[in-house]
């Protein structure tokens, strides 16, 4: 008789537990997204399929959907981490999908601020999604803070270094030599420091205020700076009759902080009609900061230069045409259009600079260096893709107020289903789902979005009241009365809200088929039936303004 093993039940239980754990682990692996390396992307044969995307500004959510369509692989950009909302420039023709995917993370990632591809499921039947990690989400804020603190630190140091005692000023003023170029920045900074209280200085340095200084109230050495600059600059201006005359001697100075296209601020002091120089910050700080950003941008898989390709000539005219909207007719687009090199770029919004077009006749490397001077652009190479970004990207409006890709996608679908014009329902959704700042960002691609900002509260009223919405949609007219009318008028800004008693709405499609437009009229009336305000808001969308460069 076989002896019963007393440990058998325990072993059986352990075996069952192990089996359950293993099954759970397998299930978890199948359901969970895990980060993948470039090498793992390259090892998926389906991602070797070529993709082509030529677009001046494309949402990453849109890019992922196009790659899905072209490869058959499930590729997405995560919406909860905001990965889908960023817009980049893509100019790739017949490039394996995995290289484009690796390029996207290379373009957007910094050390400790990673964008990464994650995979769910087994290779061959996997799903991929692009994720912006928490580090990458907080990185723009960290850069903004650092740029500002470096600027303030530098300003304090320069103020200390260029300080002069009253005796030293007296001695300098006794010397008839005009203010030298080397003296100018420190001299101007001392005018700023000596004439403004500390809290006013801080407000200016932080971009919260401009300070106006009266020249007649400046100390003698302050007036001397203005006199010497006026004499050296010999400013002129055009008079109303078209003739030119010397600009008058400045009565006021205006001190303010400005970034322009720089990653860091500069303190300017403008003098009357003369304009003004930068007194602290300027190129040295911007270049140092660009180098800081560039250092954090270069990853292990990146190559800083590609000599063979960068010495190649750019075409004198466009070889390809990227799908684009105004105002993206700018040098970054011109670069992509004059080379066959596949590239991805995080480009600044801006318009053409006429002087820059001539750079296209040079080499790729020369053009990139010119972009570097103009926009503090930086570039690198990854898996044969040229990646270009710029040092001030963290100040871009799309970083500060990213526009939700799912909202944009819904709007585009509504326009497609309505011959290019948005439906009333689509307008309501966009106005409700996006903030005014986001609508402003959306207007980069779709100009009518800006028009929605003043009538946003009116569209919100339609969202709150489905019956009102239905009435306006079906009959083309509707009226809002009483407190609801005042709420509906809240975003207009140009009328006294408390006087509003009735809001009259009318929506219609006008014009022939070739020139259709959606007209949305909003009229405000007081208790006596008088129309309020001299302005009559009207929202009109012409058909060619459909929001998608298909």
């Amino acid at each position: 008789m076989a002896r019963k093993d007393p440990s058998a039940p325990l072993a059986m239980a352990l075996a069952i537990c192990t089996a359950i754990t293993a099954a759970a682990a397998l299930t978890a692996t199948a359901d969970r997204y895990d980060p993948v390396t470039d090498k793992e992307l390259a090892s998926d044969a389906r991602l070797a399929r070529p993709v082509s995307v030529e677009c001046a500004r494309i949402y990453l959510g849109d890019l992922a959907e196009r790659m899905t369509a072209q490869t058959g692989e499930a590729i997405s950009a995560d919406e909860t981490s905001g990965a889908s909302d960023l817009r980049i420039m893509a100019s790739v023709r017949e490039v394996p999908a995995w290289r484009v995917m690796a390029g996207v993370t290379g373009l957007l990632s910094y050390r400790l601020a990673l964008w990464q591809w994650e995979r769910k499921g087994e290779p061959g039947a996997a799903e991929y999604r692009l994720v912006r990690t928490r580090g990458a989400q907080s990185w723009p804020h960290a850069l903004r803070e650092r740029a500002q603190s470096e600027f303030e630190r530098l300003t304090s140091a320069r103020m200390r270094d260029t300080f002069r005692t009253p005796e030293q000023w007296t001695e300098r003023l006794a010397d008839p030599t005009p203010v030298t170029i080397e003296e100018r920045a420190g001299w101007g900074l001392q005018v700023f420091a000596a004439t403004l209280p500390e809290d006013a200085q801080k407000a200016v340095l932080r971009g919260e205020a401009k300070a106006r200084l009266t020249v007649s109230r400046l100390p003698p050495w302050g007036k001397r700076l203005v006199e010497d600059l006026y004499n050296r600059m010999r400013p002129w201006r055009t008079l109303p009759d078209g003739s030119t005359a010397p600009a008058p001697f400045p009565e006021d100075l205006v001190a303010y902080t400005s970034h322009g296209r720089d990653p860091t601020p500069t303190l300017f002091i403008e003098m009357g009609d003369m304009g003004g120089y930068g007194y602290v910050g300027g190129d040295p700080l911007a270049v140092a900061f660009r180098n800081h950003v560039a250092g954090a941008w270069l990853g292990d898989a990146d190559v800083p230069e590609h000599t063979a390709l960068e010495t190649a000539k750019l075409a004198a005219t466009a070889k390809h045409e990227l799908a684009k909207h105004p105002p993206l007719d700018h040098p970054w687009v011109a670069l992509a259009e004059r080379t066959d090199v596949p590239l991805l770029a995080l480009a600044p919004v801006g318009r053409a600079s006429r002087s820059f077009a001539s750079e296209g006749a040079g080499t790729l490397g020369g053009y990139l260096r010119a972009l570097g001077r103009r926009d503090y652009a930086i570039h690198k190479w990854r898996h044969g893709l040229l990646l270009v970004t710029y040092a001030a990207w963290f100040r871009d409006e799309q970083e500060l107020h990213p526009c939700s890709w799912p909202v944009v996608r819904r709007l585009r679908e509504a326009c497609r289903s309505n011959s290019g014009l948005p439906t009333l329902g689509a307008l309501v959704r966009v106005a409700v789902d996006l903030t005014p700042e986001q609508l402003d960002v959306l207007s980069d691609d779709w100009a009518p979005a800006k028009s929605l900002i003043p009538i946003r509260s009116t569209l919100e009223a339609l969202d709150r009241d489905p019956e009102l919405h239905r009435q306006l949609r079906d009959s083309g007219k509707a009226t809002i009365k009483g407190p609801a009318a005042r709420r509906a008028a809240a975003s207009i800004g140009s009328i006294a809200i408390s006087a509003v008693e009735r809001v009259s709405l009318a929506v219609r499609t006008v014009g022939a088929d070739g020139d259709r437009q959606l007209a949305f009229d909003v009229l405000f009336y007081d208790k006596s039936g008088n129309r309020l305000g001299g302005n009559l808001p009207r929202f009109a969308i012409h058909r060619p303004w459909a929001p998608h460069p298909d």
Binding site: I181, E182, R184, A185, M233, R234, P235, W236, R237, T238, A247, Y256, S258, G260, F268, E270, D273, M274, G275, G276, Y277, G278, Y279, G282, D283, P284, G350, R351, A352, S353, R354, S355, F356, S358, R373, R374, P448, K450, S451, P454, S475, K477, T479, S494, V503, S504, L505, A506, Y525, S528, G529, N530, R531, G534, N535, L536, P537, R538, F539, A540
Partner: protein
């Protein structure tokens, strides 16, 4: 004779100044306009013959022209023009001028006039625009930018009330 001498002197001065212009001087222009915007339409107030006009305010926002140099002691003679509201025959407002600029280590010069004014505009769909331009005379070195917006100037309504459902 004096005029001729002055012109010759100015031409020589300009040539001398241009000789010191940095080849890689970067110029930037940025234009923005905020009045009128898409949604600010105006009730016509003036009738001239059979045409109606409205007085429309224009204002620039954040427009600037900028010169970025870098090498201390480099010099340039720069002209600028920032205009708001010049469109379709409107007489907008402008600030144009120029100066000799000399770069120091900071390498920055900027002009940001705050321009505002009114112009009479005929009834209908109109465009408002702001443009900024900066250039170094007698060179190809220039930058230009323009922002355009759409607004409507409408016929005045007869009577106070009415309109709408």
């Amino acid at each position: 004779m004096n005029v001729f001498r002055l012109r010759t002197f100015m031409a020589l001065l300009l040539l001398a100044q241009c000789a010191f212009v940095r080849a890689d001087l970067t110029l930037t222009a940025y234009a923005a306009v905020n009045r009128p915007t898409h949604n600010e339409a105006f009730t016509a107030t003036i009738q001239v013959g059979s045409l109606w006009y409205a007085s429309v305010p224009f204002r620039s926002i954040s427009s600037y022209v900028r010169a970025d140099g870098g090498t201390p002691n480099s010099s340039a003679y720069v002209s600028w023009a920032i205009m708001v509201g010049y469109e379709e025959g409107n007489q907008g407002v402008a600030s144009t001028g120029g100066a000799t600029i000399e770069f120091d280590g900071e390498g920055k010069f900027q002009r940001t006039p705050d321009i505002s004014g009114s112009a009479d505009v005929s009834v209908g769909e109109k465009h408002s625009s702001a443009s900024a331009e900066i250039w170094v005379p007698n060179t190809q070195n220039r930058a230009y930018d323009k922002a355009t917006d759409v607004f409507f100037v409408l016929m005045p309504q007869q009577g106070g009330g009415g309109g709408g459902a």
